[in-house]
Symmetry: C2
Subunit: 442 residues, 2 copies
């Protein structure tokens, strides 16, 4: 029997019921994630072994749907057992904190559910992305140029690699790497692993990320804010070398790029205006929320489109009634591409460049404060070798979160990431006290 529309009942096609559910879920989100989740008196995480957590969450997907009350309990459980990354004692990653304007922008982006490929489906966001990119480029020191929001800094770095080889050998797009000499990529051992991952993914091979005799150097990837130590490469000096040898200079400023907002700290990236491309993640130091990552380009020759374009006729018709240059989708190697500009735009509108500058200055201020306090305490050298034990105790008690790792010939040490403007000096004092407390018998 043919189904009729009446037969195809589906619980949440009902807007009234659906919106009621959304309202109740919103209340739980505010309560659990934004109130309790940022309360310094609450735990950062509610550690459970995977087997136990799987049981608690009842993850299995079944034939039949569930009732509203049960689903709302699930929303509560997901919140409860998730890590509170906006908690003032979450120092574990290069993201932390919450900005409510950005969050409102993210909710709005999700509700509007569109894609950044053509002006007709995303008129507001095509124009907004262009304006945000313009604002960021201005900070780099470029009055012209191009760019794109990407799903993360690794993708931004890969785009830069692709543009560089295309600029040098445009035939790579049609013929592949076989028609090219072996190309090498220069970067420091402290650069982010995405350079190597990208090189493998894009057919360069990881081995070519170091100097190989007889091959053609074509790309230099500098880092502004290394992942572990937060170090800044000397861009001006590297740019001199790149100029001389006509190499593509890329700056991976995923972590450090936000210093460009700060009059006090932007000297760390002096010379960035001489780069060909810059990758920068406002979801890190600016607290714009995941994901918010841009690739900025000095190029004015439409290289992005030439390099990535495939002219799909179902999206990018050339006989449209408006300027088809507004259909930016062909600049990307994605087809669907999330709207990631609105959260940054709304936050920027709310606090202004001055507010963002203050965030950066505050992160530096807090970092200096912590270093000074640490110097005053004995015993912090010793801690290094026992990091995994302290980390386990920390997680199981849920009092704070901070990562550890070895580096070179140094054994494990804690890598504290300080960025959220929601933390206070008290939280940093707590960090030191807590490391001492957790490690007092080891």
């Amino acid at each position: 029997m043919e189904p009729t529309v009446g037969d195809l009942s589906d619980p949440l096609i009902n807007h009234t019921e659906g919106q009621l559910f959304l309202h109740e879920a919103f209340k739980i989100i505010v309560e659990e994630v934004l109130c309790k989740g940022t309360d310094v008196k609450e735990k950062v995480c509610e550690w459970k072994e995977p087997e136990e957590l799987a049981l608690l969450l009842d993850l299995e997907l079944r034939e039949k749907g569930e009732q509203k009350e049960k689903l709302l309990q699930r929303v509560r459980d997901v919140a409860k057992y998730s890590v509170k990354t906006s908690h003032p004692r979450f120092f574990n990653q290069q993201f932390a904190g919450v900005d409510y304007h950005s969050l409102a922008g993210r909710f709005l982006s999700e509700a509007l559910n569109t894609n950044l490929f053509t002006y007709e489906v995303a008129p507001v966001f095509v124009l907004m992305e262009a304006e945000v990119l313009r604002g960021l480029r201005e900070l780099v020191g470029w009055t012209e140029g191009d760019g794109l929001f990407c799903p993360g800094g690794s993708t931004s770095n890969m785009y830069a690699l692709n543009l560089a080889r295309y600029r040098l050998y445009p035939e790579v797009k049609s013929q592949g790497l076989w028609s090219l000499p072996r190309l090498t990529i220069f970067t420091s051992p402290e650069s982010h692993y995405s350079v190597k991952k990208g090189a493998a993914f894009m057919g360069f091979g990881m081995d070519n990320v170091i100097f190989v005799k007889g091959a053609v150097p074509h790309f230099v990837s500098c880092t502004s804010g290394t992942t572990v130590q937060g170090a800044f490469d000397p861009l001006d000096r590297i740019a001199d070398v790149c100029d001389k040898h006509k190499l593509w200079l890329h700056v991976d400023a995923a972590w450090g790029g936000s210093v460009l907002f700060s009059k006090k700290h932007r000297h760390l990236m002096k010379g960035v205006n001489r780069a060909n491309s810059v990758a920068w993640n406002p979801h890190k130091m600016l607290v714009a929320g995941l994901q918010c990552s841009v690739l900025l380009l000095k190029d004015t020759t439409n290289l992005l489109k030439k390099c990535h374009g495939a002219n799909a006729s179902y999206l990018f018709q050339q006989d449209k009634f408006y300027d088809v240059n507004l259909d930016i989708g062909d600049k990307s190697v994605q087809c669907s591409r999330k709207v990631d500009c609105l959260k940054l735009w709304l936050m920027w509108k709310a606090v202004g460049s001055t507010g963002l500058e203050q965030r950066v200055d505050k992160a530096f201020f807090h970092t200096r404060y912590l270093v000074e306090q640490m110097k005053k305490r004995d015993g912090f050298q010793l801690l290094r070798e026992v990091a995994p034990v302290i980390k386990e105790r920390m997680m199981k008690q849920g009092t704070m979160m901070v990562g550890y790792q070895p580096l070179g010939d140094r054994v494990n040490f804690f890598r504290i990431t300080i960025l959220s403007p929601l933390i206070s000096q008290k939280d940093l004092d707590f960090f030191l006290d807590e490391i001492e407390r957790l490690g007092n018998d080891v």
Copy 2:
């Protein structure tokens, strides 16, 4: 002078004010996007020329922040001038409609703001993603395997390409394509453009996406649900050829994969269990919201990790206190990776596999209905050549949205995408009436 914490005031570091703003923004989102935006009596889009829209939105980013009332007006304006993709008369793309459970899951994901790279920062989502992937693999017919959520179907397709060449020539990861014979990729002319884009991005070259004499065929990309015509390749017959020549069989089921939920329509993908990899976007036919895209793998040898792994020591420490296989981040070529599983999981929990099956059946039912009604009307052949004119009138009046395009030697025709369970037969009748009305004098 050193800044003190007190100097670094920042309007929305105040949780109370911030949450108040979020509440008010939420109200606007519900009103503008979810109530008005889905109301059949309202417009699908409020067309503005780019210059005018830029002025209306006042996009410029400034030094000083703005007051709350102004920011809330901005939220309202962004909603007002954005396309209403959940409107019952939005037929323009392969996404449409709204599922409120999914949307609640998306708000929760945004508020929790974490990354899917390690168990320690995403315990709930590491387990949840695994369970959702398991459920989807089961529909493909695999009791074991692997997989990952990716930022869109194009990325899923690229991952499959990378895994295939790595399986055949593992040295590609370190040495690049130069050490390999020329590799070719087989696909139909109707396949999505991402196969060609991916080939260029990954160093294969677009020319190698067709048969090239003397080169090594290594990858066959079939399509389940082509972008323009919705056609399904005969997987069983292609699998026979791939078996014989030991080729990697990839199925790009970004659009069509959801038929696997339907007992009535899953025959369209008969043989999919013989594939090596399947790309499937639940954000399309299942209305899971952008972005929700998976790559499913039959592989049980940890190929994803071997092929993409870079063993970053700051994230993937091997001396952790829990099973480090739960740290799935190294399977991805991204570092930050959004949580895209929760929306699908919550929606699946809410309506069950049965509810999702009904969505697919309803989309097919509506498509058949439209074809029947169209056959009853004269004049629909003629329309083709005037599609751009009708489209312009449609957009400027905002009554509905549908895409057009040429194909082969056929001139422009309308490509209507029917998927949202929120549409009714009335909306399809309207579509036909409206095309007639808009085109009555051309």
